[in-house]
């Protein structure tokens, strides 16, 4: 049986068509700057915009766009653009993108990388090229211990948050028996380990799950069997929400606490308002000013989410550098190192390793079927 010529042609067309459609495509999906007399500066974003964690990356891009909109409205003659590089959260893809970023002379700085894995995979590239970066969301403790002088983050690392969370659980809430769960991810396990180590003997038992699991009946049995009065979960909201839901459905009535990976309104939708009620979610960021969300919605058409305010702050650092006339990699880097400001996510200043100096950890509570983002309690 042969292949009919027209079908064969179609197959070739299918391949060729792919190649042809590309001819018209421009450099990057970002809005490249078309500045006037000044340089064509761009801020790069590296993180997941598609794939499993795509929602988080879009929150970050949204934050950057708000900052750029404000800046470009003020400087219509000298606008700054965004070049976004979608890593899909995959360290593998991030490496090539990092090389592309450091070879693009119009990029003065990078907001990102989004996650700890891609940060560890690309940090060396950025450090050797001298390109300064400010991550809005990578909280793994070890990143800033690698000696990369250009690496900064505007978010408190897992160490600070884990210690605060522990003291909140045993101190403020007076919990005696705590069950610690983590999601085996770099972030979740790191945070949960700090909590476990700080709590010491208050930990009754532990369990580890995997991301993307949805049925946690064995974990629920373990929590109930341990007689725990509180559960701490290190991980993200898709699993965190389901764990608290399944715990409540099994009749467990203790306190549920989790970190910034779960501090998102989607936590409540995932768990259901009833099950999420009373859950405490900590985050190394204060409440965003009321007008930030309004601005965000105006620019992006959706509500701001996890890491939006940090990305906004990170982008503003680079914009301030441009305003101060610092555009070479070295100048921008030293500008960042001495930068101090009150961002929407809190006061910003960096220590010599690139970690944020003061990071207050806040405890957000789910009350009345909603994550109360406006009135958190500062821990300590």
């Amino acid at each position: 049986m042969g292949i009919k010529p027209n079908l064969r042609a179609l197959a070739i067309l299918a391949t060729a068509g792919l190649a042809l459609t590309a001819c018209g495509s421009s450099n990057s999906s970002g809005t490249a700057a078309d500045g006037g007399s000044c340089g064509h500066y761009n801020i790069a974003f590296l993180g997941a915009e598609t794939g499993d964690a795509g929602a988080l990356g879009l929150n970050m891009v949204g934050g950057i766009k708000v900052a750029l909109k404000e800046y470009n409205d003020k400087h219509a003659d000298c606008t700054v653009g965004l070049k976004d590089f979608d890593s899909q959260g995959d360290p593998d893809k991030a490496t090539s993108l990092a090389t592309q970023i450091v070879n693009d002379d119009s990029i003065i700085g990078l907001v990102g990388p989004g996650f700890s894995g891609e940060s560890l995979a690309t940090g060396k590239t950025f450090a050797e090229a001298g390109l300064p970066n400010v991550s809005p969301s990578a909280t793994n403790v070890t990143i800033t211990q690698q000696g990369w002088t250009t690496w900064h983050r505007v978010i408190g690392n897992d160490d600070a948050q884990g210690k605060a969370d522990s003291s909140y659980l045993t101190g403020t809430l007076g919990m005696k028996k705590i069950f610690v769960i983590d999601d085996a991810s770099d972030y979740g396990k790191g945070l949960a380990t700090v909590v476990k180590d700080t709590l010491g003997s208050a930990v009754v038992s532990t369990d580890e799950i995997q991301q993307k699991q949805t049925d946690f009946s064995a974990t629920v049995t373990k929590v109930k069997g341990s007689g725990a009065d509180a559960v701490f979960f290190g991980g993200y909201y898709p699993e965190g929400g389901l764990i608290v839901k399944q715990l409540r459905q099994a009749g467990w009535t203790g306190t549920f606490m989790s970190g910034d990976g779960s501090e998102d309104p989607a936590f409540v939708t995932t768990a259901g308002a009833q099950a999420a009620e009373g859950a405490i979610l900590s985050a190394p960021a204060g409440p965003a000013p009321a007008d930030f969300n309004a601005k965000y919605k105006q620019v992006n058409g959706s509500n701001s989410g996890l890491y939006s305010s940090q990305s906004y702050d990170a982008a503003n650092i680079f914009l301030a550098a441009i305003d101060a006339g610092k555009t070479s990699h070295e100048d921008v880097n030293s500008f960042i190192n001495s930068y101090t400001a009150d961002g929407v996510s809190g006061p910003i200043a960096f220590d010599d390793k690139g970690d944020i100096k003061t990071s207050t950890i806040y405890a957000y509570k789910v009350t009345g079927g909603k994550l109360d983002v406006a009135n958190p309690t500062a821990i300590k």
Binding site: S25, G190, Q210
Partner: protein, 389 residues
């Protein structure tokens, strides 16, 4: 049927046909030129082919790695006819052996760790193959898929292997020439071509330092993998043309008949599995040294599916087909980054369209084409017969 028309013509046949009748040395010369052109592709950076959204050298490196993996998997799927859905497990085993030996627990130089990584992966292949190759062919798919997942979950959960934080600071292969930090060093500088003007100009700002294995330029790694690929191809050709290759073909076409003819089918299947695994391990090790950092997120099950897709799309059983498939699978999603959200949708559609309209793959092995031609002739003969009757 004297004038049986040569059916199954492929567009690229004509390219091959051009050289018929050329003297041998001329054909060798053309071949050598093509190889050199492929080596210099990331330097030349031809427009349209060069990926706009991401580093072209890095993409070419991925293409070469995928091609290498596809050649390895082609031995398992194409030659021996065993469907392996867990090939990523071998890739991970190679990468992790390298990581553990060179960074996590010991500090071996890369080229000492490489042969050990290949050997470890080969042994892994034998350990997996020995029990599972006895189960029915269809079940092999799911068993290997399970194996791939087990490897991924083990590296995610076992602290000794770095768990979720992965393994950092995997050393690069030794550079030839000076190796300072930053964009200098190497024996000499090779400027890239800049096509923004016509005729293209030499771009000394973005150049490749000859054989400096750093983090800023993927081109030397591309050359390394390409060289490995060429060596593997030569070995592949020798093995395929030997007794072993014939035994694989016999086993694939009719296992019982092969067994009756005295071919120890199990032994040859295991050999295919081990060789395939070894090449997977080699590519994993090379990948780990380029990346410098590995973590379990890379070795998802979906990568196995992409590997299998590469081999089948290219044409299972033909090493050039496997290479073409590997390159396409790695290249297309990166070339069409500007589609961002759509690129896997397009990839899925392209897989469906290609399999439906070219079920034998882009470059089917010569044997498949002969079979298809024979079938067509039979059909034609039957058609003539029916007319007479």
């Amino acid at each position: 049927m004297n004038g049986a028309r040569p059916s199954i013509k492929l567009p690229w046949d004509r390219v091959g046909g051009l050289f018929i009748g050329w003297p041998k040395w001329a054909r060798w010369l053309v071949g050598a030129l093509v190889v050199i052109l492929i080596y210099f592709l990331p330097i030349i950076r031809p427009p349209l082919i060069t990926t706009p959204g991401t580093d072209f050298g890095g993409v070419m490196f991925s293409c070469a790695i995928f091609a290498l993996v596809a050649v390895g998997l082609n031995i398992v799927i194409g030659y021996a006819g065993l469907l392996d859905l867990g090939y990523v497990g071998f890739y991970a085993a190679g990468a992790y052996t390298t990581g553990v030996l060179t960074s996590e627990h010991w500090h071996w130089p890369f080229f000492f760790a490489l042969p050990v990584a290949i050997a470890v992966t080969m042994v892994t292949g034998v350990i997996l193959g020995a029990p599972t190759l006895r189960v029915r062919g269809d079940y092999l798919a799911i068993v290997t898929m399970g194996f791939g997942e087990i490897i991924r979950l083990v590296v995610t959960n076992v602290g000794w292997l770095g768990a979720a934080s992965g393994i950092k600071d995997i050393p690069q292969p030794p550079s030839i020439g000076p190796n300072p930090i930053g964009p200098t060093g190497g024996l000499f500088e090779i400027p890239h071509l800049d096509w923004s003007t016509f005729p293209p100009s030499l771009d000394y700002d973005h150049s490749t330092r000859f054989l400096k294995f750093g983090v800023l330029d993927a081109v030397p790694y591309y050359w390394l993998v390409l060289t490995a690929l060429i060596l593997v191809l030569i070995a592949d050709r020798l093995v395929k043309a030997s007794r072993v290759g014939r035994a694989w073909e016999a086993t694939r076409e009719d296992e019982d008949a092969a067994e009756l003819m005295g071919v120890s089918t199990f032994k040859y299947k295991l050999l295919a599995f081990a060789l395939g695994a070894a090449i997977g391990g080699l590519s994993g090790a090379l990948y780990a040294s380029r990346q410098g950092y590995i973590n379990p997120l890379t070795f998802q099950l979906v990568l196995s599916m992409l590997f299998v897709a590469a081999v089948i799309v290219g044409g299972a059983g033909n090493r050039w087909g496997a290479i073409a498939g590997g390159v396409l699978v790695a290249y297309l999603p990166e070339r069409f980054r500007s589609f961002s959200d759509w690129r896997y949708l397009v990839f899925g559609l392209a897989l469906m369209v290609l399999t439906i309209y070219r079920p034998q793959g882009l470059l089917p092995p010569r044997r498949t084409r002969r079979v298809m031609q024979a079938e067509e002739e039979i059909e034609e003969l039957e058609g003539v017969g029916a007319d007479v009757a």
